[in-house]
């Protein structure tokens, strides 16, 4: 299991290389990338802010829970911070396991949890020079979650 929150560009092959095992029949690599538009508005670049130490804690907790659910510890998640241009990778998730169903389910679940509770914020910068923090999710303390 590997997690990171980093201002350095994400190299997909490196995240991918964190997973895989002779017992695994399925490997999945997901990349979230910066789109050139959002809600019909042209986007110039994104800026990600993070509470890094807490984000690492939350990522570790998410990956540990995904590992229990999916029955595999071959999981890697990296979130980028700082300023990203169009096409750059903001999030990379790699999972490998014996069968494809659990690999897909784990990767999807991880992505939803990252969006739901990892303390990261996204500011969109538009081609007209303006920018704004995007609306997000309101996490609850662990003891109040389902």
């Amino acid at each position: 299991m590997f997690v990171d929150v980093t201002p350095d560009p994400i190299v997909p092959e490196e995240v991918h290389a964190c997973v895989g095992d002779p017992a695994d029949g399925a490997v999945l690599l997901f990349l979230g990338t910066v789109r050139d538009h959002n809600d019909g508005r042209p986007v110039e670049r994104l800026h990600y802010d993070a509470y890094r130490d807490m984000a690492l804690r939350e990522l570790r907790a998410i990956v540990a829970e995904a590992a229990t659910r999916a029955g595999t510890d071959r999981i890697a998640v990296v979130h980028r911070t700082g300023t990203l241009e169009i096409g750059e990778v903001s999030l990379a998730v790699a999972v490998s396991s014996a069968h494809r169903a659990e690999t897909f389910d784990a990767a999807r679940w991880i992505i939803e949890e990252v969006k739901r509770r990892v303390p990261v914020w996204k500011r969109e910068h538009y081609t007209d020079g303006r920018g704004e923090w995007l609306p997000g999710e309101t996490p609850e303390p662990a003891e109040e979650r389902a």
């Binding site: 802010d49 509470y51 303390p119």
Partner: protein
């Protein structure tokens, strides 16, 4: 007691402040810390009165008691991915 506060994203933009120290009375909770920050007047008073908070890097309720040396973060709605 003395705690440390952290602000992120839009809250940081609002106040122009990333972090700082805060002197609180004994028995203070996370909510006490938020109220103390909002009592600093504009622009601090524009912080929400019930924001999401984390104490020592874990999401916490506003009635969470604080201890000397704790780190309390005020977190705008998160938007990672």
């Amino acid at each position: 007691m003395q705690v440390r506060f952290l602000l992120f994203a839009s809250y940081r933009d609002l106040t122009g402040v990333e972090d700082g120290g805060l002197e609180l009375p004994p028995g203070a909770t996370a909510g006490t810390a938020v109220a103390a920050l909002r009592a600093r007047g504009a622009p601090w008073s524009a912080l929400p009165d019930r924001p999401v908070v984390a104490v020592n890097e874990e999401y916490a309720r506003l009635d969470r008691p604080l201890a000397d040396g704790d780190e309390i973060a005020l977190l705008p709605p998160v938007a990672g991915g």
